[in-house]
Subunit: 292 residues, 2 copies
């Protein structure tokens, strides 16, 4: 019917201000333009929308009916524009991050706090899961970004290196004799080793390292959380393979110490994953910026 919705904006302001001249000012147009626009509307409806008098204009019965619809419509558009501006300014919106519980707890927390302080109106949604689960979340569009250990090889994903973590073996008071020694892998395997459950990325990594030296690493105990890994080591149940940064408190206070090995353990990189060629929300872009 009407092939130019701009006319409704003009109509809205004309009706609202009761004056074509005022409407023109509000819209940064000239009065004849507004006059012309209203005429177009009236012609295409075949109805008169305004009474014109020397003081301005007034809605006719039919104009009043039109206004009741258009007013709502214009208000919605205004709200939409305000909302978009808020999203842009990070005054609104949400950020959905996927990652492992331990990464959230031990490492991402300061970044999350920082982000939340800077942009308190953005709702944070944290979804924990294993690396494959996080990748699946990403592909399903359920999270905006995932934080996992590298390497990730998936052509659909774009991975930014964020920070390095160093895994290491730690033990508690029971094994004080090892404190100032440099162990060979041979020696290490004499002790009971505690590892994270089979499907974890860190577990696979260390198993491969041992294999590359010709050893098969078999854990005495397998646990399902980083907290248990730490707790078991503290109680002297064995030597745990953990991320050094996750036990920094225990290392400082001396309840755990790091076993020195004669071979280097390669550091593991944590990466922030996003979908390749998919636009990011403002919030996601901002978070990545802060986390790098």
């Amino acid at each position: 019917m009407i092939n130019n919705y701009e006319l409704y904006k003009v109509f809205y302001w004309a009706a609202k201000t009761g004056s074509l001249t005022q409407a023109a000012k509000a819209l940064y147009l000239t009065q004849p333009s507004v006059s012309h626009a209203i005429k177009q509307l009236e012609d295409s409806f075949g109805l008169t929308l305004f009474y014109r008098n020397s003081k301005g204009v007034e809605l006719t019965q039919e104009g009043t009916i039109l206004y009741s619809y258009i007013e709502q419509s214009q208000i919605l558009i205004t709200m939409a524009e305000e909302k978009m501006a808020a999203l842009k300014n990070l005054d609104s919106g949400e950020l959905r991050i996927g990652g492992s519980d331990s990464l959230f707890k031990h490492y991402l927390l300061p970044y999350l706090e920082d982000f939340h302080k800077k942009h308190p109106s953005i709702k944070l949604h944290l979804n924990h899961g294993t690396t494959p689960e996080v990748i699946a979340f990403l592909k399903e569009g359920r999270i905006d970004l995932g934080v996992v250990r590298m390497p990730i090889v998936d052509s659909q994903l774009e991975v930014r290196e964020s920070f390095q973590l160093q895994d290491c073996f730690v033990a508690g008071a029971q094994y004080t004799e090892l404190k100032n020694m440099v162990l060979t892998l041979d020696m290490l395997m004499e002790y009971p080793v505690i590892l994270f459950s089979r499907n974890s990325r860190a577990r696979m990594a260390i198993t491969e390292i041992f294999q590359s030296y010709g050893y098969t690493l078999k854990p005495e105990i397998e646990v399902g959380s980083v907290d248990l890994l730490i707790e078991f080591a503290r109680r002297g149940l064995g030597i745990s393979y953990v991320t050094r940064e996750f036990v920094s408190k225990e290392l400082e206070e001396g309840s755990l110490f790091e076993i020195q090995l004669d071979v280097p353990l390669p550091p593991s990189q944590v990466g922030i994953m996003t979908m390749r060629n998919m636009p990011l929300t403002s919030a996601a872009r901002r978070f990545i910026e802060l986390a790098q």
Copy 2:
């Protein structure tokens, strides 16, 4: 913010159909135009609204939020356009008529019925009042048109002559002796005359006529409704001055007869009044068309 609301229409269709190509078809545009429009929106918000893939497009988080507003807005506009079309086609709307009760009851009824049959969806509002009241209603915008006796002299009003009425004196069985006589005003004044209340237009008219012949007409009885005027005459309380068309039933059945005078009583014209230079609703225009 956005200085072209057309873009929202394009966005709406793109989001609704999930395809720029489909949106282009729906809007009778080419695909590049739609692509361009969406880009404009995205640029001016500084946000990405759609994920593009080889199957079409999909809303981003931010696009989804925008859509929730714009969808409502567009629906309202569509409803508005449908409503305007209905008003134009007289499939909707209202018609507010002012006039005297007796005109409504005795003369306008067939026109009202006719109009209502032809346009059953138009609500009729009938407001009765004296001629000055009806004029006031018109000027206050409370009615679309008024139906009153001419002449009306008011530069703000436009009056269309509609139909003629003939006032006359009638009497009942008590005065059968006058049935086949032609009376002079002199003779008439020997009888008790029943008139409508002082402020009525018909009353003023007949008083003036008598005065122009040198007589002062003083009624025996004054009543406030046409029905009473008729009833009193039937009961033989006097000779009533009524509009002939309003007593056509009584004249036919013989319960009243018309007094013949030796001077002509000028006919009175009924006019349909509207505000001069004020646009009429479609319904009002249509009614006037039918009533002429």
